[in-house]
Structure formats: C-alpha cells, structure tokens
C-alpha cells in the first residue's frame, strides 16, 4: 500500500489557495501536525484507495505540543496575524480564512495533542478549549505509521483514521457521518484488495498502543457481526445519500468487514 505524495499536488494547491500561508506556518511547529476529518478521505481518494470523497468546507489539523502550550498559541497568533479571524467564541480552535470563495475550504479547526511526556493531556485540552472527555489516544495511535507530507503535515494511516472515527462515533452516535466514513474506508480498501497490505502497519500500531487497537478490533468485529451499537439504521439517510443500496448494505458490510478482520487476524496469528 504505497502512499504517493505526487498525487497530492492538486490538494496542496487547493489548501494554499483557500487557506493562504497555513502550510508555511504549520511547518514551523515543533510537533507533528496530523490531518483529521473529511480531508483525509479526499487524500485517500487522491491516492486511489477509496472510490469517492465527501465534500467538506474545512481543514481539521491537530498540532503536536512538545514542550508547553505556548507552541500552540504562537501558531494561532501567526495565523491571526496573516488575516485569519476568530468569530466563534465557543470554538477557540476555529479560525476563518481571509479568502472568501465558494467551493473551497473556509476555515481551519486547529486542534492540539500532547507529543512527548512534557505536556499533559489536561494542558493540551485546556489549550484548545475542549472538555475532559476529549481523548488524545486515537490521535496518537493515528500518528503511528502515518504518512509524512512536506511542511510537517502528517496523514493518518487508514487504520488510524478508523480508530479516530470509531472513537468519535462512540462518543456521539448522532455523528452518523463518522459511521459512514468508516464504511467508506473499509469498503474502499477491501474493494481495492488493499487490506491485504495492512498487516505490518497494524502490528506496529497495535504494539505501540494496544488499548486503541482493541477498540478498533471491537468496531470491525461489531460491524461484521451486526452488533447493536454499530447498527446502520440510524445512519440510513447518510448511507443512501452516499450511494449505498441500503437493502444490501448490512449483508455486504458483514462480509467485507469479516474479510478485513480476517487479514488483521492473519497477521496477528503469523507474528504470534
């Protein structure tokens, strides 16, 4: 499963065009900056890993804080100095682009995560103004085996992306887009026979953060076996909007997630 940065030229140009100066400013961060959200689906689509992306009006990024919270504040100030604006008092992390154009990214959600032992989770949460339930485990899991782009940007490995989406959906099951994103990625990987190449990355990630790996396995198994907490019916509208035949979906998901699970299991068994 090869990640080709050359396939991201158009995406980089779009970011530069709609969010001017962002990449250069992020490039000065001490910690790694991880791309989150629907943008990841666009990148996977550009790689040819999934058949479609979904439209989004923002770019979600999480900046690694290595020493203390001032690192995040410096980046934020640099963006504001470049013309980015804050208009949502409840979302301290949201910064609107100085460029106002349709069909482009209108704002950034600039989040942060602790990277290294010098910074606690509480400090990181306080810095970006989120509550105690905000978890960094999945972000740190997703940074394992992530793909490095120029300017200090990192794209999560698909298993890491699944971990983040699963955690988000469990935290708030009304976020049905997260559930459909999970299905999009797994169907795409299996349909393209890419799940056969996930084994080494999975073992490395599971070895580094076993507690998150257990949750990922639980999610995959839950969907494969139709567990009630992964029931598709609450996301029916979202599935239909993305072109799924809902009558066939549960059967297809059961088979496809089972095959996905089999390959992770095979690697685990082989290495054991």
């Amino acid at each position: 499963m090869k990640f080709e940065t050359t396939k991201l030229v158009a995406w980089s140009q779009l970011v530069e065009h709609s969010l001017p100066g962002l990449l250069n400013i992020i490039g000065t961060a001490q910690g790694r900056c991880l791309v989150l959200g629907a943008t990841v689906l666009q990148i996977y689509h550009d790689q040819g890993w999934i058949p479609r992306a979904r439209a989004t009006g923002d770019l979600d990024l999480s900046v690694g804080i290595v020493s203390d919270a001032s690192e995040y504040l410096v980046l934020r100030e640099k963006l504001i100095a470049s013309g980015y604006t804050v208009s949502d008092s409840e979302r301290y992390f949201r910064l609107f682009s100085p460029v106002k154009m349709g069909l482009t990214m209108a704002y950034i959600d600039l989040l942060a995560h602790p990277e290294g032992k010098a910074v606690s989770g509480k400090e990181a949460r306080t810095t970006i103004g989120v509550g105690d339930r905000w978890s960094f485990d999945e972000i740190l899991f997703a940074l394992e085996q992530s793909y490095a782009l120029p300017k200090n940007i990192f794209v999560p490995h698909p298993i890491g992306f699944l971990a983040m989406k699963a955690a988000s959906y469990i935290d708030d099951p009304t976020r049905t887009k997260d559930l459909v994103d999970i299905v999009d990625v797994v169907f795409g990987l299996v349909g393209g026979a890419l799940h056969f190449d996930l084994g080494d990355a999975w073992m490395a990630m599971a070895g580094a953060r076993p507690s998150v790996a257990v949750k990922v396995k639980s999610m995959i198994g839950g969907i494969a076996h139709g567990a009630i907490n992964w029931d598709f019916s609450r996301a029916e509208q979202e599935f239909v909007q993305r072109g799924y035949d809902f009558d066939r979906l549960e059967d297809e998901a059961s088979r496809i997630f089972t095959d996905f699970d089999d390959q992770l299991q095979l690697t685990s068994s082989a290495k054991a």
Binding site: V190, F196, E252, R255, D259, D262, Q263
Partner: protein, 352 residues
C-alpha cells in the same frame, strides 16, 4: 451344503439372521424350530404347549395351504422349504412366495418404515454416519467380507460405536449386509431423509457458508476459472477441496462458470491474500464461492475417510469428497442443486 432355508431367506438379508450353536435359526427376535408336519391337530397341540419366554416360529419341509392360513390367522411365523414364509415382525408381516425374488411388502419399505419409526433418520444423516457410509461403499465387497466392524472402523478412523448402533438398527449382521441396506433403502428414502427434521447435526450446509469472491484486477473465462481452481487445489492440497456443486457439474446436472471450494478455516485468510480474492458487491461477477466449515474436513464429513477407494466416474480431484455429504449439501441449494441430487446419488447406487 447350503440349507434351503437360507436360499429362501435371501431377500431378507437386511434383517438380523443368525444361527445358534445347535444350528437353530434366529430371525430378528423370532426363534425358529423345525417341525415335521404330520397333521394340523398335532401342530395345534404343539403351539398350545409353547412357552411364552420367547417368540417362536416353525420351519416345515411342506405345509398344506389350509394350515398356512391357520398359522397366519394366529400370527405364528413359519418358513417352508417349498418357499412359503410369513414372518411376524413388530407391526409388520413379511410374506414370501415360492420362486419369487421379490417380497410383499418390499424389504426396502420395511426397512424404511423401521428407520423412520424406530431407528430415526438422524442416526443416518449426520457426519459420523456419512463417514461410515462413504467408506463402506468405497471398499470392494471381497475386502469388506474379510473385515470385522472393529477393524473397518480402526482402518478408516471411523466411530466404532456409531457403526455398531447403525448395524443394530438395521439388523445388519456384517459390513456387507450394511452396504446392501444402503442400496435397498432406495434413492427416494435417502433424498427425503436428508431433508428430514432433526437430521444433519454437526454439519453446516455449503450453501449457508459460501461467500462469493472475485480476484482483484483479473477476469477469467470458463477455462481460466477451471485452471485456476485446479491450481488452488494443487497449491493448497491439504486445505482446499472442491465444493459439492463441482460434482453436480461433473455428472452434467449443473452448468456454472463460477467454481466452488471448501477451504479449511486455518488457510482461508492466506489463500485470499495470495490470490487477492475480495468479496463481490452487487453487479460484480464472482470467480468462486468459498465455504469455510466450522470444524475440520473430516469432522464435518466433507472429505472421505477412504478417498482412494471407490470407482466413481469422476475427475481425480473430486474423488476425495464424501459423496453422501455432497448429496446432502445439494439439497440446500437452489432448484438446480436439488434436481442434481438424484444424479449424484446414482454414483452411490452404482457402488453398492
């Protein structure tokens, strides 16, 4: 010198027919003694004196029709050396006529009735029994005649206790007799019994397990599918067997481009990875349908315990399949599969 009674009882070989050390005949639970007929009055006197500790019958050299009628009216079993017989079994009377190779009612009907009412099809339609039957029909009669139940079970890794119960339930004296029972039951009994309630425990039908796959980035024509299937079976010789539909194809009962495979649970993930097999979605053409049994091939009676035996007119790669299991599986398929069962069952009857 052969006892003429043995010849007369030839059509009843599916029943338990034994002789004690004194040479007295014991047919099922009826103890026969010879009686020289000198008149009906003396016979009636003999009958009155019979103890009730065992069911008795009589063997006569000859017997007037009037006395035969009297015996039948009084439900007393008899055999005459001239070829008449009336055997009063539980809830059934078997009658034999001279110079007749058939009997009324037919033995298969009696056995079928016995199986359904007493021995139950569940004793015959399960993986343990399928392993026994499949091995039984593959071993030549002359070899079978020299094998005891114990040595047969040991030689082929079969359950001796199950074999013993099956033989008792059809009153088969030996392995050859049991093999004949398989044939005498008839195709319709087997096909009905395989679909009877409370049968098939320990087996999951191929059709219930099968998932359809395509090979990522590859399309195959019919010949290509066949070549690929042969390659997979050769590459994974211990872990892959043809699916039951392949036998139906071989006997000309089904035409299908897609191939079917049984794959051992331990090998499935590696096989899918090696050949980049991915589940099909709507509108995609499958290369194969793969079923992964819950147990291993032998426990589920998918693979024959005597794969080198038999003379089935099939390709070599199909010979390791348990033929009873194949027929059973086809019963759970679409109408083509169900129609194919009789054609495949013929392979069994050609052997017995």
């Amino acid at each position: 010198m052969t006892d003429p009674v043995d010849t007369i009882l030839e059509p009843l070989r599916g029943l338990s027919i034994r002789r004690d050390q004194a040479g007295h005949l014991l047919l099922e639970d009826i103890y026969f003694e010879r009686w020289s007929f000198t008149g009906q009055r003396s016979l009636e006197e003999k009958v009155r004196q019979l103890s009730t500790d065992r069911i008795r019958g009589f063997i006569f050299d000859k017997l007037p029709a009037r006395t035969r009628a009297w015996l039948e009216k009084n439900r007393i079993s008899y055999i005459t050396e001239s070829g008449y017989a009336a055997i009063h079994l539980k809830n059934k009377v078997i009658s034999l006529q001279p110079d007749s190779r058939t009997m009324s009612p037919p033995l298969s009907e009696y056995i079928a009735t016995s199986l359904t009412s007493e021995a139950r099809p569940s004793r015959f339609i399960n993986p343990t029994a399928f392993n026994i039957f499949d091995a039984l029909i593959r071993i030549p009669s002359y070899e079978l005649a020299n094998l005891s139940g114990l040595s047969f079970a040991k030689s082929f890794g079969l359950s001796q206790s199950a074999l013993s119960k099956i033989m008792s339930s059809v009153a088969a004296r030996d392995l050859c007799a049991l093999r004949k029972v398989i044939g005498r039951l008839g195709s319709s009994w087997w096909l009905e019994a395989m679909l009877a309630p409370r049968t098939g425990r320990g087996m999951t039908p191929f059709y219930h397990l099968a998932q359809e796959y395509r090979m990522h980035g590859q399309d195959f024509d019919r010949k290509g599918v066949e070549e690929w299937a042969r390659h997979v079976q050769s590459r994974y010789s211990e872990s892959v067997l043809p699916g039951p539909i392949e036998v139906a194809k071989a006997v000309g009962a089904i035409y299908d481009k897609m191939t079917t495979l049984w794959v051992d649970p331990k090998a499935i993930a590696a096989l899918k990875r090696e050949f980049k097999l991915v589940p099909i979605r709507a509108g995609e053409e499958p290369l194969c349908a793969i079923a992964v049994p819950k147990g291993d091939f032998n426990k589920e009676a998918i693979r024959s315990m005597a794969p080198d035996g038999g003379a089935f007119p099939l390709q070599a790669n199909l010979l390791p399949l348990n033929i009873f299991r194949v027929v059973w599986d086809l019963g759970f398929g679409d109408s083509r599969g169900r129609d194919a069962r009789a054609a495949v069952m013929k392979l069994v009857f050609n052997e017995v």
